[in-house]
Symmetry: C2
Subunit: 83 residues, 2 copies
DNA sequence: CGTGAATAATAATTCAAA
DNA sequence: TTTGAATTATTATTCACG
């Protein structure tokens, strides 16, 4: 079950605002994955997710850029090169 | 005191392995900044620091790349372009 | 406004179990 | 090897104060 759950987590984190493992647990449950918080703590580490602080007090779990990135390398990097 | 402390935090996070706010507090104390954990929680948010999970169970506070980066853009990006 | 002490909320780990 | 319940550790927030 872990692989599917991991995929679901990555998906959720990309399309929704997930501020805590508890919220993530609820969303996963809606998708049919009923797991304990302990499991999510492990999943999050295994997936390398990070909790990004926001301007306001909030924070959201996100996928690190180098993992996320579906964008072709060149078009993504050119702007950074000021070309 | 906050600006100096913020600078010290960025510095520490770059040169040492800071796995928790408690450890950060100790390191700052060594540098003469004696603050409570509550303050560090705020500082970390203000600085936009994130706690990155590591392969093993650990985690470390780090400065997001775009903020950190002292490296010249080109030499940094070429490897990503497979050149 | 920045801070700390106390507290609440959240996340990581332990320890059994399947 | 994966999981969850309970526990511990860590982090965020509240509330009062200088």
């Amino acid at each position: 079950m872990k692989p599917q759950r991991h995929a679901a987590i990555l998906d959720l984190v990309r399309i929704q605002r997930i501020p805590s493992q508890e919220v993530l647990r609820e969303r996963l449950a809606e998708r049919g994955f009923e797991v304990a918080q302990a499991t999510l703590s492990r999943d999050i580490r295994e997936l390398g997710l990070i909790k990004m602080p926001e301007e306001d007090g909030g924070a959201v779990y996100t996928v690190p850029a180098h993992v996320t990135d579906p964008t072709p390398a060149l078009s993504r990097l050119l702007p950074a090169l000021f070309l």
